[in-house]
Symmetry: C2
């Protein structure tokens, strides 16, 4: 039970979540529920304008309805007991409330984790404890064969792949283990032989190599539990911020590839080091690293020249999953440990996108469902009900702030949420915004750009082409060098000494990026002759997607119009999918099957491409 | 047709060999047949004493019978047309002769080759030529998968083991081969992908790592032909002449093992270099090296610490065949080439002995048959008809001349054959000997020791215990420091300025070694309750065995008494067996099966050992 505030406290029971919360009198329900860890939406920042924080007060008497509530909720919802959590205050006595699904923020707080289907634990690395009779003059069976004979008896399997390493270590393992050893298997390959019984100690690592960030999870493969999570920026960034420049660098010569490979390997080694220290795990007991990443990161990590990813027709060197000894590329785990790189789908649909699909169970959707991972390069996977289609759209860096005057990434000082409303108290449009890290704003990140454009459009400040309307008078639209700009934050509010604005050109750049994603989604839908209404679920994967406002994304046409409840934020499912593969050989089979069966659609070669792209440049008609 | 000598020539047709030979008149049949390359035995050196060079003159008139012939052949053989080839001379006209099997020397001239059963060509390394459609925007299948899909179509096999290397090389191979490549497979493992069609170029190497000598053969695995043979002394010799000292050196520390391993690897690399230069073969087209050797050599070559071979119960680290990438230990073939070490049977029955058994087809004998590889360490394998038994006898270095006063290896200057007879012309015993390399004698090698002891015994100069008899008077027995010695070569004949002699102690040392081998054979025979008479064949393998005189070896009891025709000299079958395994995966299976099924008998632990060894110290009763 959480206590919110001081003084007299009321008990608020959130029925549909089964949670009891203590609330100080005169606090809003929004504040006290949030303080108890229940994340309730409030796009406008809690000023009674957006209507996203609706709750139902089923029992107990709250403060009277405010004017905002009357305007925003409408009489029908009011009659059903709906209130705005940001307006309704606790008065006295006990309450029973329910928070509708759509009022909850269902996002992953950290970009290092994601949704993960439960899978039965069946890793490729297995250990078998074997106890044998000591060698004697009347039983001179060779050490390794003595072990393997007993192993076969125990497992009822025989055809183990044994290379010379096992022979090198068997004699000492047997004798220092007093004729009892643990055989470490990877598939049917004998990886190692350890003295004594070490069967309770099997660890593995899942890694997602992103262009800008590397995330790693350390997993106890006996218990199936994640015991450490770490991430760090991809150090390759100093050799190119985006995939294309990395490909160019790595393709130039052998040294370029080796340099980028070493950078990512040493980063992964740092993450392994940190996690194993924190979880107190001996690195020699980590036997496998399963890696997801976009195809360029995948190639560079494996020492495969990514040259042909950079030129049409953009084919990868390999689609299927490949393995190698960790030692071969210097990954610091058990000296016989394996690195397994998950399969990719195409040159720009990597194993990270495939991991997204596997993590959410895209293959098993009952009805058509869509998965979108928005970024500089956005991947779209679409289970049509008959097959899975995939495409990739080069949205460009607008989502990350490049090409936008005040654009920036979602780091401290970035405005990441915006709400525009007509403020009756001043008789003009006003803006509420949220800043990452509670700092003075210094720029605008992609999620705020979505909010901005959606809000400008909703308030009729821009037209369907994204141009400022001539007929609207507001102090927020200023003219700078003959160009109109909308003031998001006045200079006195910002950390940059001048107003933070968004121009017609900024909006246009952003709409180009949005058109890339939207046209990709539309082409896949049309290709399968399925309308957005028929979609059962729309999974939003990845860091950027996790932070966008779905209604606003729909309003600008970035995402197809659908019931908001169909959208599911799944977070970093690239790492979740990799972790599932680490834990389950069946999942690995699913990866291979999917990689092979997914139909890749090359958008630039699709007959609908031009038409769809041009159409997607516009903002959709409003309800 | 070979012409022998000058002047008038007779035509001699050797019926049973189908050979026509031209012989000058007045030459002996021995000389002219030998000059035509037909190796006829003459243990006494061609003085009409030993009776080994018997031939039958079926047509034509040769020189009259000599006294020697009358004495040695006996009337029955004479009536059948037998002559001694060293006595009978060509006179005039044409001849038809036949040379009985037992009169022919059936030995391998070089210790680098041996008997080899014919096997169907089915190497583990295979190549498949694959031609694919070029990648395009409408067919973006990944390079490696494009190749493997087509490969599977062609071979109707699917489950290839593909590691990251194939992915690294596929893109360039495809493009420089204009979308046609050759896939190199080792079992189901994709070793490499080469541009264009290289299917007519597959080479492999067989190696026998002996304690004192390394032999290698280069084989064209498309045609199944041996195209080069090379050998060199094992450079490890400077770290110990025998196995035990090598084991000690390699067990001392990691550096010791690495040093010995590097020595043998660089020796093998030299042999590979020489052979590939001579046969004009690109080393990148050599994909596999199959290695045989005694267990200690096997372990050291593979980087396995041989420590436990040196102490009871002498178990190897591994029995089964093991593989590794040639690159891992620095063997210079294709960078993805494989080194496959054939399985061993026991600590002192290595893959060389197993290769002997495979090469001669020991498993497929219809009746009991024996294989003996005599050396410092002698291996005996015995197919009893129900199972194959194996043992190893540490004969010690006497066969190689150590512990014998004038003992030496069979190098230039060594007396390698000896014949003792009562010379009527001088009224005393006389000696004929052969010297390796036509030099003045400087010592006696093992094969001559066998001849010496057998001849001394046959002529009643020594008794069944190997002691000089008191009752015999001959100038050949001299007394030196109170010890009797038999003069093999008088000082004026030798290259050492004094007489070369053999003492009672020398004989005794040699009999100890012979007892080790003989008791091993006898224990195996008794273990299976089979008498020497029941043996169908006795294979004599290895360099030392190839040079011994079978009758003499039987006379001293080194080999069991049997019809001389049952003995088959098979030469260096260690290399032949390795070569068969290189050429045939079925043979490799036979190796594995045999290694597993052969019953190893530890002689020192056998209940019959003491009794048999003591008995074998004596010379057997003469006929």
């Amino acid at each position: 039970m959480a206590v919110s505030g001081e003084g007299k406290a009321s008990r608020v029971f959130v029925k549909n979540l089964g949670r009891d919360v203590l609330c100080a009198a005169s606090k809003t329900f929004l504040d006290c529920l949030r303080e108890a860890g229940i994340s309730i939406r409030a796009d406008c920042g809690g000023i009674g304008e957006c209507g996203k924080c609706r709750i139902v007060v089923e029992k107990g008497v709250a403060s009277p309805l405010t004017d905002s509530e009357k305007r925003v909720l409408g009489s029908e919802d009011i009659s059903k007991g709906f209130r705005l959590a940001c307006q309704a205050k606790v008065v006295d006595g006990d309450y029973i409330v329910s928070v509708p699904h759509e009022s909850l923020v269902q996002r992953y707080a950290s970009a290092d984790i994601g949704f993960e289907r439960a899978v039965p634990l069946n890793p490729l690395v297995k250990k078998v404890f074997v106890s044998v009779n000591p060698a004697s003059l009347t039983d001179v069976t060779a050490d390794l064969d003595r072990i393997l004979d007993e192993l076969s008896k125990k497992t009822l399997a025989g055809d183990y792949d044994v290379d010379v390493h096992a022979a090198r270590i068997a004699p000492e393992a047997l004798r220092s283990g007093n004729w009892s050893v643990t055989v470490v298997l990877w598939r049917n390959k004998v990886l190692s032989i350890e003295p004594g019984d070490t069967t309770n100690s099997i660890y593995g690592i899942a890694v997602d190599i992103g262009t800008s960030k590397i995330v790693a999870h350390l997993v106890d493969l006996v218990k199936g539990e994640t015991i450490a999570v770490e991430s760090m920026p991809n150090p390759q960034a100093s050799y190119g911020a985006d995939i294309i420049s990395r490909i160019a660098y790595a393709s130039r010569d052998r040294e370029g590839l080796e340099k980028l490979q070493k950078l990512v390997v040493s980063a992964i080694n740092m993450l392994i080091e940190k996690m194993s220290l924190r979880a107190n795990v001996d690195r020699n007991r980590i036997y496998e690293v399963v890696v997801a990443g976009n195809t360029a990161m995948h190639h560079i990590f494996l020492g495969i020249n990514p040259r042909y990813l950079g030129t049409s027709p953009y084919v990868p060197a390999v689609r299927r999953g490949v393995y190698l000894y960790a030692k071969e590329i210097g990954v610091n785990i058990n000296e016989r440990g394996i690195v397994y790189a998950l399969p990719v789908v195409a040159g720009y649909v990597g194993s990270d996108a495939l991991a997204d699909a596997v993590a959410v169970g895209l293959r098993d959707c009952d009805a058509p469902c869509l998965l979108v991972d928005i970024g500089t390069n956005s991947e779209i996977l679409f289970n049509t009900g008959r097959e899975i289609l995939a495409c990739s759209t080069p949205a460009g860096p607008a989502f990350e702030g490049a090409t936008i005057e005040f654009g920036m990434r979602a780091v401290v000082g970035a405005i990441d949420q915006v709400f525009i409303y007509f403020d009756r108290s001043i008789g003009d449009y006003n803006v509420r915004y949220n800043v990452v890290g509670n700092a003075k704003p210094i720029g605008i990140c992609g999620s705020a750009m979505i909010d901005l454009i959606a809000n400008l459009y909703r308030n009729n400040l821009i037209d369907y082409r994204g141009r400022f309307r001539e007929d609207i008078k507001t102090k927020r639209i200023v003219v700078d060098n003959g160009k109109k700009k909308f003031v998001v934050a006045w200079s006195h509010e910002t950390g940059v000494g001048r107003s933070i604005t968004v121009s017609g050109k900024d909006i246009n750049e952003f709409l180009l990026a949005k058109a890339a994603v939207a046209s990709g989604i539309n082409i896949l839908l049309k290709h399968a002759n399925i309308s957005a209404n028929d979609l059962q679920k729309i999974f939003i994967a990845g860091s950027f997607g996790t932070h966008i406002n779905i209604e606003n994304a729909m309003a600008i046409g970035l995402l197809p119009k659908a019931d908001a409840r169909k959208f599911v934020f799944v977070g970093n499912t690239a790492i979740s999918g990799a972790k599932m593969a680490l834990k389950s050989s069946e999942i690995r089979r699913e990866f291979e099957d999917l990689a092979k069966s997914i139909r890749y659609i090359e958008l630039s070669a699709h007959p609908l491409f031009k038409q769809e792209f041009v159409q997607a440049l516009y903002l959709p008609r409003q309800r």
